[in-house]
């Protein structure tokens, strides 16, 4: 695992914080998915 990653916008995330950031992103992606399903179902 790299010691740090730079996200596309140039923000650097240390390796030990990547899981927390990833979990927060995953929550958002889940929200996105649920909204897509609702809209596709004719919300």
């Amino acid at each position: 695992m790299p010691e740090e990653i730079a996200v596309p916008s140039g923000i650097v995330v240390p390796a030990d914080e990547q899981p927390l950031v990833q979990a927060a992103v995953d929550e958002h992606v889940h929200r996105w998915q649920l909204l897509r399903e609702l809209i596709e179902a004719g919300a």
Partner: protein, 426 residues
């Protein structure tokens, strides 16, 4: 010393006296000159507190963060502060908040935790918790906050004070540090509904008059509400003679909150992008993780959230053709304990404390509609769970309905208000 001057200096002394016990105020201002020079007006000599994200001339606006310590002092005060001062009110203190308004707790890694005046083991709510606590403690009758997903109304509910969020753009946000500019509203906390309207008179005098005989209805689904929130809504409906009447069904609250959180995350990351690049390690943990996640959000997520927001605008516009005021919980539960990370929500089971606290407030921020949280009396002698802790009921309406909401709020307080709660502070 004039009565007005005494009122202002007394308020500053109360803020200072309560600061150590509750952590609700960052700075007590030197008010001697301001009190002496206070202008005559409808709010003459009324002391008010200001959330740490409003500019005050000559002071650095910290937004609850250590990252802002070296920012330049504000050249002039925020527009809403200037409007209050023009009406005679005097700023006396700067109140606690979640860092950059990112949160519903006012647990702040840099400045400590703001404690609930009704039980210091519990949160005051956030992100404007310090302002709500200052009013609940009786330090000041008015305190300014902001409301992006419920940051004004959530702490109003948990601290047992009136919390008004006018519609989007009704009150200028000039001089208010942004969190998510497309959702940010000025809000305020007051000791009474009448005082909330007096502030509205001062800062948005052109707001439309109240509708005569407004059509009021309960709003659901209320499955997200815990037993105490449902009881509070029932008390409000009973007072309004509406108990058992038809409930207006709202679009899914959880998906509405999802859209709000996605837009907030994207906009918040944009606002703080330069600081995240330059100084990321100096953010507190919650804001650091949350804002970074916002920066990593796929663009499609924002597109979808905005698309759903447009759907919701149409749904609520249709809904407000047949009703003027919706009655629903402000928060699903009473104030959680400071260390309590999960809350039990009606038929939704156990969920994370954040963002669940905002599930009932988010729709009205997302759509820029006015809403007010009204404290409902919960007697200590009832023997119920969380006896004596306050809880708010939310009234929400279409654009321009601020005064209609306040008229119904006045009725509610007269019939089942929380006038005893201020005296029950721990």
């Amino acid at each position: 010393m004039s009565v007005a001057t005494a009122s202002v200096t007394d308020a500053a002394e109360r803020l200072a006296a309560h600061r150590e016990g509750y952590g609700h105020v960052y700075d007590v201002l030197d008010v001697a000159a301001a009190a002496r020079d206070a202008r005559p007006g409808p709010l003459s000599g009324v002391p008010f507190a200001v959330k740490d994200l409003f500019d005050l001339a000559g002071r650095v606006t910290r937004s609850g963060s250590a990252l802002t310590a070296d920012d330049a002092p504000a050249a002039r005060s925020a527009a809403v502060v200037r409007a209050l001062e023009a009406a005679g009110a005097v700023a006396v203190g700067v109140t606690a908040m979640d860092e950059f308004a990112h949160g519903f707790t006012t647990i702040n890694d840099h400045f400590g935790t703001c404690r609930n005046p009704h039980d210091p083991a519990r949160i005051a709510g956030g992100s404007s918790g310090g302002s709500a606590a200052a009013v609940a403690l009786g330090d000041v009758p008015v305190a300014l906050g902001s409301d992006t997903n419920g940051s004004g109304r959530v702490p109003a509910s948990l601290c047992g004070v009136v919390g008004l969020k006018p519609g989007y753009g009704v009150v200028s946000t000039e001089g208010m540090a942004p969190f998510a500019p497309g959702l940010d509203h000025v809000s305020w906390f007051t000791d009474t509904v009448e005082r909330a309207e007096a502030v509205l008179d001062a800062v948005a005098p052109d707001t439309a008059a109240a509708t005569h005989s407004p059509r009021v209805a309960a709003a659901g689904p209320q499955g997200w509400a815990g037993a105490e929130a449902l009881a509070a809504v029932d008390a409000a409906l009973g007072a309004l003679g509406l108990l058992g009447s038809a409930t207006v069904e709202l679009p899914p609250l959880d998906r509405t909150l999802d859209a709000s959180l996605l837009i907030t995350a994207a906009e918040g990351a944009e606002v703080h992008h330069d600081r995240l690049r330059r100084d990321r390690a100096r953010f507190g943990a919650s804001a650091r993780i949350g804002l970074t996640a916002g920066a990593l959000l796929p663009a499609g997520a924002l597109v979808t959230a905005e698309r759903y927001r447009a759907v919701l605008r149409e749904s609520y516009a249709a809904l407000f053709e047949s009703v003027d005021v919706l009655v629903l919980p402000t928060t699903p539960v009473v104030a959680p304990l400071i260390g309590e990370r999960e809350v039990r929500l009606g038929d939704q089971g156990v969920r994370g404390r954040e963002p669940s606290l905002g599930v009932f407030t988010a729709p009205f921020s997302l759509l820029g509609l006015p809403a007010v949280s009204v404290p409902i009396r919960r007697r200590r002698s009832s023997g119920a769970a969380h006896d004596g802790l306050p809880l708010g009921v939310q009234l929400a309406g279409a654009s321009g309905s601020e005064r209609t909401l306040l008229a119904v709020a006045r009725m509610l307080v007269e019939r089942c208000g929380a006038d005893e709660l201020g005296a029950e502070v721990a």
